[in-house]
């Protein structure tokens, strides 16, 4: 029973990251109808940014979050405006596929050149503090990261719901023609949206650094899971993405516990395929 509860807690914690990654991917897909194949790599860049801020400037990873978010936002906005937006005009899925996959490769190899492929970790004074909650234990950074993650998710939902920019983002994703009719600056919204997605991925990465190994390919796992979250949670649904992420995290840790860690990824993707098939059938029946 204790191990079960422990697995649930771990699943919840990791699931929060999948949620946040999925939300960023979801907003990008909603607005531009593109799949951002370098979402995981942007998480990895966030990890290295937090690592660099801590190692070279001595800034605590949590205090560095706004900096990481800012750097990633600017990076995302520039990438969007100079490369993705012009490619959107070609209406070629292949162009956009190569563009975002290519950026992912560039980021991975860039990290490898700068930081080598050695695994790196960040250890702070509070890294080793363990909290016991009844029968289960959890490291302090995990709890803090999870709380920050929830706060960021809620902030994102509020931003999209209540701010003028958030409303414009939703408007563009629901009806691009309508958005043009009311004079929304679509290119600017694209920049903000992609910047936002990049910042969310970067923040996820920075939040991971205190208990996850940092290496140039650390992002790919999260990138793929973000895609699953988007598909399972439903496009355009922030709440759906949140629940799907938590579900995915729980599923992974429980499979590790009951079936075995080596089958974890297999079961996750098999479940994904089953969900896709069921959904497809429901959709077909409805049509």
């Amino acid at each position: 029973m204790d191990t079960f509860l422990q697995a649930c807690l771990n699943g919840l914690m990791i699931g929060g990251f999948y949620s946040l990654m999925g939300m960023g991917q979801n907003v990008i897909f909603g607005v531009m109808k593109i799949i951002n194949f370098c979402h995981g790599e942007m998480l990895m860049v966030g990890m290295y940014l937090a690592y660099a801020f801590y190692t070279y400037l001595g800034i605590d990873p949590y205090l560095a979050l706004p900096l990481v978010a800012l750097v990633m936002f600017v990076f995302g906005a520039i990438f969007q405006h100079t490369l993705i937006t012009p490619s959107l005009g070609t209406h070629s899925f292949t162009n956009l596929l190569f563009l975002t996959v290519g950026m992912g490769i560039l980021l991975t190899n860039g990290a490898q050149v700068i930081f080598t492929s050695d695994y790196r970790t960040i250890t702070t004074g509070y890294s080793q503090i363990i909290l016991s909650l009844g029968p289960v234990t959890v490291a302090l950074p995990r709890v803090v990261s999870f709380c920050v993650l929830i706060a960021v998710s809620i902030a994102l939902a509020f931003f999209l719901k209540y701010t003028q920019t958030g409303k414009k983002i939703r408007a563009v994703s629901q009806n691009p023609i309508g958005a043009q009719v009311v004079g929304i600056d679509t290119k600017k919204i694209y920049m903000i949206t992609y910047g936002l997605g990049a910042a969310l991925a970067g923040v996820s990465g920075a939040l991971l650094t205190l208990f996850y190994v940092i290496n140039p390919t650390a992002g790919s796992n999260f990138g793929f899971r973000a895609l699953i979250v988007v598909v399972v949670g439903g496009l355009g649904s922030i709440g759906g993405a949140f629940l799907a992420g938590i579900f995915l995290g729980l599923l992974e840790t429980l499979v590790s516990l009951f079936i075995g860690p080596s089958l974890r990824t297999l079961v996750v993707f098999a479940t994904f395929i089953v969900i896709l098939v069921i959904r497809q059938n429901i959709l077909l029946r409805r049509a």
Binding site: K167, A171, N175, I177, A179, V182
Partner: protein, 235 residues
């Protein structure tokens, strides 16, 4: 006043509009008539900058707008109620209307404009918090019209407002358009397939066929025209 002269436009290499010219005075209602595929919506898109015209002139009160961005044209005061309404269906009625306030002036006067729209469409006031997609077709058209009015148009273009709506709702919308022209001096361009209804509302009309203006005149003249009677009124 809006004066469109020799407008040529199309999509890619396909030219749809050939030398389309028309004008509308302040406070005047004109109808642009034609059957499906004649080039009516392309005219709307070219005038509002949603597609870039190949050549021609779109002058609003002496300001050349042809080739400008859709945002610049919106800022100049040409606002459309697009074909198919193009609402943000998962957003509330209020959010849809709010997004209609493009210019700073429109944003400043948002509350007055909302009150003005609710006076004409009291149903919308009851439904401000409802998702626009859950409204009936007629109510959605009202949202689309109100959204355009909130932008404080100098020229209001209604693209196929009658499509798929009950006659009494169409009348309600045309009454609003008439009032806007008469009391606010707004120029109205009514793009319609329902020729009878359009000519009963408009002062003048233009008939477009295959991307050309083939006929123009007062609403009365067009109603009496043999070609219009035969081709569009079924008399």
């Amino acid at each position: 006043m809006l004066k469109v002269t020799n407008l040529n436009a199309g999509y890619g290499h396909v030219q749809i509009l050939r030398d389309v010219s028309f004008s509308v005075d302040d406070g005047e209602i004109i109808a642009i008539l034609g059957s499906n595929g004649a080039g009516k919506t392309t005219t709307v898109r070219a005038v509002t900058g949603m597609i870039r015209p190949k050549s021609g002139s779109v002058m609003l009160n002496g300001q050349e707008l042809c080739g400008k961005s859709s945002r610049a044209i919106l800022d100049a005061g040409i606002i459309q109620v697009p074909e198919g309404r193009q609402l943000f269906t998962e957003m509330t009625v209020y959010e849809n209307l709010e997004l209609g306030a493009f210019s700073d002036e429109a944003k400043k006067r948002l509350n007055d404009s909302l009150a003005f729209c609710y006076k004409y469409f009291p149903k919308l006031e009851e439904r401000t918090k409802q998702a626009a997609g859950t409204l009936s077709g007629g109510e959605q058209q009202m949202v689309a019209v109100a959204r355009a009015l909130i932008g404080l148009p100098k020229v209001l273009i209604l693209d196929e407002p009658s499509l798929g709506l009950a006659p009494n709702i169409v009348d309600e919308i045309l009454t609003v358009a008439g009032d806007m022209a008469a009391h606010q001096g707004v120029s109205i361009i009514l793009v319609e397939q329902d020729v009878n209804k359009a000519l009963n509302t408009a002062n003048r009309g233009y008939v477009i066929e295959n991307g050309h203006v083939v006929l123009s005149g007062s609403a009365r003249e067009l109603q009496d025209n043999e070609h219009v009677k035969r081709a569009y009124l079924g008399i």
